[in-house]
Symmetry: C2
Subunit: 350 residues, 2 copies
Amino acid sequence: MKWEENVRKVVPYTPGEQPQKAGIIKLNTNENPYAPAPGVARAMAELDAERLRLYPAFPEKTDLAKALAAHYHIGTDQIFIGVGSDDVLSMIFMTFFQSDKPVFFPDITYSFYDVWADVYRIPYETKALDSDFLIRPEDYKQPNGGVIFPNPNAPTGEVMPLTMVEEIVKNNRDVVVVVDEAYIDFGGISALPLIEKYDNLLVVQTFSKSRSLAGMRIGYAMGQPQLIRYLNDVKYSVNSYTMNTTALVLGVEAVLDEAYFENCCKKIMETRGRAEEELAKRGFVFPKSCANFIFASHRSVPAREIFEKLKQNDIYVRWWNKERIENYLRITIGTDEQMEALYRALDQIV
Amino acid sequence: MKWEENVRKVVPYTPGEQPQKAGIIKLNTNENPYAPAPGVARAMAELDAERLRLYPAFPEKTDLAKALAAHYHIGTDQIFIGVGSDDVLSMIFMTFFQSDKPVFFPDITYSFYDVWADVYRIPYETKALDSDFLIRPEDYKQPNGGVIFPNPNAPTGEVMPLTMVEEIVKNNRDVVVVVDEAYIDFGGISALPLIEKYDNLLVVQTFSKSRSLAGMRIGYAMGQPQLIRYLNDVKYSVNSYTMNTTALVLGVEAVLDEAYFENCCKKIMETRGRAEEELAKRGFVFPKSCANFIFASHRSVPAREIFEKLKQNDIYVRWWNKERIENYLRITIGTDEQMEALYRALDQIV
């Protein structure tokens, strides 16, 4: 068909499997095993459906923006809210990476970065992690069109110290640097305080992991007001209302209940500590994780084999058929019960 | 700042005002004055908040896609679901309008079209409506990179007969033609049956108007499976999960309750009929509307003056400071009570 000549052709991102089968143990997409804060259910019960006939409020004017601003001690004009951090990052690629020079990111990292670069026709160059899967800050000193990396990194779970993050930001004052902190609440230290010092820094976080709201799609970027204004200009050129009313209302509760939030993160970190012991006992090696998953390789059994056998046992973990990491599994930290089931299954496999 | 050189600069779309003040009469953004179907409130009450910790299902696999497919007698592979029709249309611009030739749309039309063209760097050419604000199909016979128009048109409310729509589609088999039917349920005839005949036709609709769910952000495109696949490829390159769980669940109820839907549309059309009489009585002229609004001009009082005086009375309508339409007001059809308040206010102004 002739009209196909005008089609933007892309190789889309492949998200993790979302099996709808009941009773499976789902450790493949880094969801939180605990329910969202109790206030979320309450807010949903109290929300008047009649309100849904009206367009949602602009996110920057909502209680959600106010709650985030109060929580992080920044202004509401320093926050951009989107449909999960994927929406926020996608807007960032479209807004800030309009250079002819390549955007830099690690070779082993969140596998959406090169997809966004492709869909928006942005040149990019990946920088190889060292043999311990760590970023080498000197790689980010060459001229570039922007820098983005997750911290903790995905799918390795390894965290970079703040001084190294700052070194990268400082060496790249001519471009926008994005620290993707999807997993920061599980033991890392956020680069957020650096936004006061660097007008080229954006810190991106999400409600999908530590706040147990993957199903509501809420992410946000924090930076100086000028960066946020540019992001909003592009966002308002794409869709005036990306955040629906339920997301704007329910999200508030997940921010306000700090005790619940901290307790969930603590439980996951404790379970992760035990998982490190149990996996090591069974012959796995893995870098130290500061995320809600462990990126593990077995000393003798190939990752693919373990991945498939676990799936036969209705336990889903994540595996990529990709250079350098094809012998690793990314295992989300579930509840203690889910992890026990995993260990029992592994005992049959390895 | 040097990093600003890499910023995509755009003139964003300006959405209608969303005053948060209580007690106002809001006839400015074409929201439905009636609550969503009762099933929506019920589904919200029954939704288990625990489910929100998980990523949402892929829209094409949900009951929402199934309900739409059943309602329109098409396959689930013929439907693309997005965050309001703005998200759907934005994806369509990005996906299908990659030609060097200009995309065609009317000069007086939904004011987002040129914004999307600008943000995605798509060349475009507007075609002037005739003096009765009608599309001239012969304008769309020149070589182009795609065609898009709303039917009924916005902000005029005028509907084009299906034979004329088909003429445009037939004359443009080499490009994708998009019929934006946001307002079709208020008396127009949908081009949907034509998708079986034309593999280059997309019909876009929304839950924001006739289904009273502007706050949930649900829109959809219908066309042959190949078009939907291309759209999904781009969508999955931007954000794997754009539709949150609440939207996917609540939307179903708005489709299933056909009696409620039809009754709401009927009430709005009846109120529109009375509004035509009342506005004519007060010296307004307007084209025949097949939408949930009337695009009206007063014989002697400038639109801007009426717009501002109504606002002082807490009645919001829409006015554009834009060539050819600067003497028109777009008045959403509200409840009978809201319209009575409008007529009383107009009696003081005109």
